[in-house]
């Protein structure tokens, strides 16, 4: 599980003056489901295309199994790709599409037929071999593209925005299937996506990119709970960011004082590497609790001193999403704070209506401290 299969060594790709990929170093290990995540134009697709061989790096090297493949043409690389448009050949039947890579490789007919059938079974398209692509739905065409790539038994399977063209229900289903498929075939998958939900749900590890630079490489859980920068915190999910300075910084606890907040933010751990500059506290909306305001004593969650981590505010916006509701709560000073609350019973959302005054509070372990 820990054998590196792909290594990017200081890879830079320039189109004219613009660096689409800027000095990226990255290792993907065997058997991973790796996601390249970022907004459009961040260089993630360029990185994938360099891996497939459709672009060559301006600087740096790309290694597959320790072999430098930077100048190997795409047809000689041990990787196969599932394209965003699927690129299923319209003039060939499903079976001919899947067989194409084997025909080019001069695999004998008997073995070819067997492997094509196997691949079609794998993506649950058994018996569809004789059909033409225009007789298939979008989801089925994607399965053909998957089978066509997997039948060549690549070292790495590349997926370019695999779920973006599917409708919501089908996307949900394909997510599960892609995971199952990867476990079944044991091939390393590398996926490009701009959809953070997709990356979090599918990947074992994600790389977040922005403007050609690698921002953070971590497991989905670490990306969400321990982002390393404001960009990552903001790009993955929704977040409340408070700019401030460290008023107290002890090994056992710390306090951030922010001009945006009337109270201090108390942390149950020390901060390393702050050096007295500006810091940011990032608090996810679902980690802030809403309490009905009865009297002037703020609620205390028990792990922070009185007068910290609790503010009064007025609900200014409410979006009921069924399973949960999101609120924007305005505190003294005009700052609005996003809060998400699970609708745990069928009535309890009645207490939090537009214009209600409420208490906001959070645990001492909830804020993530960002230094950049």
């Amino acid at each position: 599980m820990s054998k590196p299969i792909i290594t990017f060594e200081n890879v830079t790709k320039r189109f004219g003056k613009l660096a689409a990929v800027d000095n990226v170093s990255l290792t993907v290990e065997e058997g991973e489901f790796f996601a390249l995540l970022g907004p459009s134009g961040c260089g993630k697709t360029t990185l994938l295309r360099m891996l497939a061989g459709f672009e060559t790096p301006t600087e740096g090297r790309i290694l597959i199994d320790g072999q430098d493949i930077s100048n190997v043409p795409p047809n000689k690389r041990p990787v196969n790709m599932v394209f965003q448009s699927y690129a299923v050949f319209p003039h060939m039947t499903v079976a001919d599409n899947v067989a194409y890579g084997l025909v080019v490789d001069k695999v004998g007919k008997a073995e070819r037929d067997r492997r094509v059938e196997e691949a079609l079974e794998l993506v649950q398209l058994g018996g569809y071999g004789g059909r033409k692509p225009d007789q298939l739905s979008g989801g089925q065409r994607q399965r053909v593209a998957l089978a066509r790539a997997l039948v060549k038994r690549p070292r790495v399977l590349l997926l370019d925005e695999p779920l973006s063209a599917l409708d919501a229900k089908l996307r949900e289903q394909m997510r599960t299937e892609l995971c199952t498929l990867q476990e079944k075939v044991g091939i390393t998958f590398i996926m490009v996506t701009h959809d953070q939900d997709e990356a979090l749900a599918l990947a074992t590890r994600c790389a977040v990119m922005s403007k050609g630079l690698l921002q953070q490489v971590a497991s989905p859980n670490d990306l969400y709970e321990f982002p390393n920068s404001r960009f990552v915190a903001d790009f993955i999910g929704s977040v409340n960011l408070f700019e401030g300075v460290l008023a107290v910084d002890e090994p056992s606890h710390a306090v951030i004082r922010s001009p945006d907040l009337p109270v201090d933010i108390f942390l149950d751990h020390g901060v390393t590497g702050a050096r007295g500059g500006t810091v940011w506290a990032a608090i996810r909306p679902e980690k802030i609790e809403l309490h009905k305001k009865e009297g002037d004593t703020p609620p205390n969650l028990g792990d922070c001193p009185q007068g910290t981590n609790a503010i009064a505010g007025v609900i200014k916006h409410e979006a009921y999403l069924g399973g949960s509701s999101t609120y924007e709560v305005e505190i003294a000073g005009g700052r609005r704070i996003k809060v998400q609350r699970s609708n745990l019973t069928r009535w309890d959302q009645e207490d939090f209506k537009l214009g209600e005054t409420v208490w906001l509070c959070w645990h001492a372990c909830s804020p993530a401290v960002l230094l950049s």
Binding site: A52, G53, F54, P73, P74, N75, K76, V79, N80, M81, F83, Q84, S85, A87, F89, P90, H91, M92, T93, D96, N97, A99, Y100, G101, V103, V104, D105, K132, D134, A145, R148, A149, K152
Partner: protein, 285 residues
């Protein structure tokens, strides 16, 4: 009798003004052609009054050795110029579609020039070219003596092929090409297995277009043809100079039918998605 509902806003064809207009167009456009065809079956030397049905002018037509020779010349020129136009046109379209290079816009414009330049100018230009710049050797054996006409025909029909092929390539998904490369195909194999099948309908349409253009071209051919290289339209013209006999009608009818059939085939192949999907099936086997 139940009254019909008044026409909906977009049902133009149910308004009498539109119907009148359509009728007028049909009469002025097609009545002369139909009259011409009908009178080719007229049993009379004078082509004015209907005297009775006959096929004798067709019989005469197919026994007229000079006319048959002209027809043979026309078919040969059309066939050869179609093949050459196809190669030149498709290559030009591929280059313009595939690459970016300095002067691409200029080349693109220059390519459309033979389509927009008046035929008479092309004809005179060809005449001057073959008389002064590069005289085609005289007295060559058939079909080499048709060379000048073939070159002239290629020069005005290959841009049409290029335009048709290019329009087709605009709908080509570049990821198809990349997919073929990704699956292990080399550059040449990719062109053969993926790009050509996509291009096929436009090649057929372009070929039919080039063939018809060449077959019924008069003006440019007239300026490049010699005494022993007469084509069918030029021959018909020379027949008309004496009198418009039903034989001319018969000859014109043959030409019209041929042209209409080929054009219809070209349009069908151009517009029919089923024809597109069907081409090159089973190439991988």
């Amino acid at each position: 009798m139940s009254k019909r509902a008044p026409p909906d806003p977009l049902e133009y064809l149910r308004r009498w003004q539109m119907q009148a207009w359509l009728a007028a167009v049909a009469i002025f456009l097609y009545a002369p052609l139909i009259a011409l065809m009908a009178f080719s079956f007229n049993d009379s030397r004078r082509n004015i009054v209907w005297k009775g049905f006959t096929l004798k002018y067709y019989d005469k037509l197919f026994n007229d050795s000079a006319l048959l020779e002209a027809f043979g010349n026309s078919l040969t020129i059309a066939a050869v110029s179609t093949v050459l136009s196809l190669i030149l046109g498709a290559s030009a379209a591929l280059v313009l579609w595939r690459f970016r290079f300095p002067g691409k816009t200029a080349l693109d414009g220059a390519l459309a020039l033979p389509i927009v330049v008046p035929e008479i100018c092309m004809g005179v230009a060809m005449l001057v070219f073959f008389a002064r710049v590069m005289p085609w050797p005289q007295g060559l054996a058939w079909p080499l003596n048709l060379g000048a006409i073939i070159i002239a025909h290629v020069s005005f029909s290959f841009p049409f092929v290029a335009v048709v092929v290019r329009a087709r390539m605009a709908s080509f998904n570049r990821e198809m090409e990349e997919a073929a490369r990704d699956l292990g195909a080399g550059e040449f194999r990719t062109i053969r297995d993926v790009i050509l099948p996509h291009m096929a309908p436009s090649l057929v349409a372009g070929a039919l277009l080039a063939f018809t253009l060449s077959l019924d071209d008069f003006v440019i051919t007239f300026f490049t043809a010699g005494p022993d290289t007469v084509t069918f339209p030029v021959k018909v013209y020379s027949m008309v100079r004496f009198s418009v006999t039903p034989e001319v009608n018969a000859a014109s009818t043959v030409l019209i039918v041929l042209t209409v059939l080929l054009t219809a085939a070209a349009l069908k192949l151009q517009g029919d998605p089923a024809a597109t999907a069907g081409h090159g099936a089973g190439d991988a086997k």
